[in-house]
Amino acid sequence: MAAATSSPRTEQLSRLQRWGKTVRIIFESRVATVGLMMVLFWFLLGFISLVWTPYRPNFSDFEQNLRPNSTNWLGTDHLGRDILSRLMAGTQVILLKTRLPGDFPILGGKAIPGGVALWGVFGSLTLGSVLGLNAGYRSGWWDQIIMQLLDALIAFPQIVLYLVVIAALGQGDLVVILAITVTGAPGVARLVRSLTLDIKTRDYIRAAETRGESVWFIMFREILPNIRGPLLVDSMLRVGYAIFAIGTLGFLGIGLPPPDPDWGNMVNDARRNIFFNQWAVIPPSLAIATLVIGLNLFADGLREEINRYQK
């Protein structure tokens, strides 16, 4: 079998082509495309809001409880603030920026890029992966102890855990990130563990072991790259859950602190006001719902498409 006779199929794809292929997979699925559009819409609105909003989101520039009209397209809230502007600005804390507390080292009082939902999911991915890899690959006592700890964490209803964490630590972007990290980590760890248990049986892991590679090398260099795909899809869903949770916390009045507008909080304010202005409740509700649904659709469509592609 001479090397020169290899068929064109096996020719090396350039990086660009591979990317192109990935993007095509997304658009192959209608579900994923719709989801992606919904998500991109909110990202776009968020970016615009960084430089421009129709009015000042945090100032009572108008009459209170206006219905949608030509000036305030979505009306005003109970304090006379423009709902559209607040809605646009509301994407920022979720998706685009995280405000650090004043006593944070170096960056104290500043905002860093990446929304609370994204950092929270990043946190749970990191923590969950480390725990899951150790539990899955090392097995035995490691597995028992890690899984026992995770079981304990999972046993908390998430909202209760949020409530407890926030009751204990107070409000703040970092607290919400921590809460999302802690509640998300067990799920990630379980997923990583089950994927690891599968990958662990592969012969290339045996090959690494017979080379005498260290445990950390095997976990992070041999196993981790191969569970990227499912982990990525899962993290997409997790961003959805995180936004879901942030909204719920905001609704419960214990979410992201003012002054930036928070969708969940907007819903809550509007709810109290529902007999005076039924319209204020709709935009932020829809915003949360569409963003989460968009992420879910995207992840779902992607997963289905990847499965089909692999078949």
């Binding site: 304990a152 209803p157 209760v160 407890v164 009751a167 609704f251 719902a289």
Partner: protein, 439 residues
């Protein structure tokens, strides 16, 4: 299988223990000074310190954890020198602590530097007698002291002649008193013995408020469960056997939308649509935009109050369970043994009903059971939206106030529910799956 069961039970117990430690630790680390919330922002540092001591917060965390978990009467007993017992207060039904001095239930009180014993009578009243002969000498400091049970259910240490000034919370307000003890150990039986302590917000035992709340939540979640389960399983199975067809698309995407929409959004929309808009067209509609739960028993007098909360929960849960079932059904319908059944010439109905469903339901049942704590989470939000007097609302209110006794107790209840349902899920899976049952 025995091995599996024992492991599950042990794991459950360990989980609960870990959770309780975590919960306690978290609140320990985080919660600010609760006395500020109770006494108000205007209170002085001295007042707060005194009150903290009365709440026993000056004890070490480990001691308090043990007291919270299994009670501290047996620890304190050595100091008091008598067995400590609880007696129900005939008026309030709450427990009172007494020392059992040779069969005579006794408490003590210090007044004007004199120590008095309060001897409990049969009818519940007590007789006060001077008890200065109880003082003991501390050989190191040379002072005389006495350990006893005071009339506020704490084990306390009085020092003769010290005349501590303490701030006492009374019905008339917060006032300073003399003759106070030097040290307080609030007596409790511990959560394992059924005493979750006193709610800081109200000063009444947590259990008294908690039990009707749990019952209300059980009603809400139970009704939702009964509505959701059959419907969701049927929808999931229908979608699963029609994979890729329009029916499946509708159920899948609908389910996804319902699951991905936060409970509060669903709730608000239901209020808006059914509670407000529908009311305008049909004034007699049973849906109420604002439900007033006048008492903890309101739902039994007016079951229509349940309508919107149940609908909200249903909307959220239905999608989830249906999607789980669908996924499992799709997987099963794709399996080799279903292929076998079809090629054996079994009619399609039989293939689905006899061969597929049992296998397809195995996975959802565990997942549904795992999902119960998600349901509890949903219940919190739903209860807050509708002001429903249940466990979730209770946790929420307590968390907002920072009432750690109440949170701890209520959170433990939710964790207990979650853990037990998971255990049930595991069991159900084992029973349904012959592979596990017979190994």
């Amino acid at each position: 299988m025995a091995r599996f069961l024992v492991r599950s039970v042990i794991s459950t117990i360990v989980t609960m223990l870990l959770v309780s430690i975590a919960l306690f630790g978290l609140i320990e680390v985080g919660s600010g000074d609760i006395t500020v919330k109770i006494l108000g922002i205007e209170s002085t540092a001295e007042q707060r310190a005194s009150y903290r001591a009365q709440l026993g917060l000056d004890q070490s965390a480990a001691l308090r954890y043990i007291g919270w978990l299994v009670g501290n009467d047996w620890l304190v007993r050595g100091r008091v020198g008598h067995k400590l017992v609880t007696v129900k207060n005939p008026q309030t039904g709450e427990d009172q602590w007494w020392a059992d001095v040779d069969g005579q239930l006794t408490r003590w009180r210090m007044r004007s530097g004199e120590l008095y014993a309060l001897l409990r009578q049969e009818n519940g009243s007590s007789v006060e007698v001077l008890a200065n002969d109880g003082w003991q000498l501390d050989p190191e400091t040379g002072t005389e002291f006495f350990w006893g049970v005071n009339d506020n259910n704490s084990a306390v240490k009085w020092v003769r002649g010290a005349g501590e000034r303490v701030w006492v919370r009374t019905s008339a307000g917060f006032r300073q008193q003399g003759d106070g003890p030097q040290q307080y150990i609030p007596l409790r039986k511990g959560i394992l013995r059924g005493d979750p302590g006193l709610a800081l917000q109200t000063g009444r035992p947590v259990a008294v408020t908690l039990i009707p709340r749990i019952r209300n939540t059980a009603v809400l979640a139970g009704v939702a469960f009964i509505v959701v389960m059959p419907l969701a399983l049927v929808l999931g199975i229908l979608a699963g056997v029609n994979e890729g067809k329009p029916l499946d698309r509708v159920i899948s995407v609908g389910g996804l939308a319902a699951t991905a929409t936060p409970e509060f959004v669903t709730g608000i929309f239901l209020i808006l649509v059914l509670g407000i808009w529908l009311k305008e067209i049909w004034p007699g509609s049973p849906f109420k935009a604002v439900a007033l739960f006048t008492s903890p028993d309101a739902i039994f007098r007016d079951p229509t109050l349940l309508l919107l909360p149940v609908l909200t929960l249903t909307a959220v849960e239905l999608g989830y369970v249906a999607r789980m079932t669908r996924a499992s059904m799709v997987e099963v319908m794709d399996s080799a043994y279903i292929r076998t059944a079809i090629i054996k010439g079994m009619p399609y109905r039989r293939v689905v009903l006899r061969h597929a469903i049992r296998n397809a339901l195995m996975a959802p049942i565990t997942i549904i059971m795992l999902h119960v704590n998600w349901l509890v989470g949903g219940v919190v939000v739903v209860e807050v939206i509708f002001g429903y007097p249940g466990l979730g609302k209770y946790i929420y209110d307590s968390a907002i106030f920072g009432d750690f006794n109440a949170i701890e107790a209520a959170a433990m209840v939710t964790v207990f529910i979650a853990v037990v349902t998971r255990l049930i899920g595991d069991l159900a899976y084992t029973l349904l799956n012959p592979r596990l049952r017979y190994t």
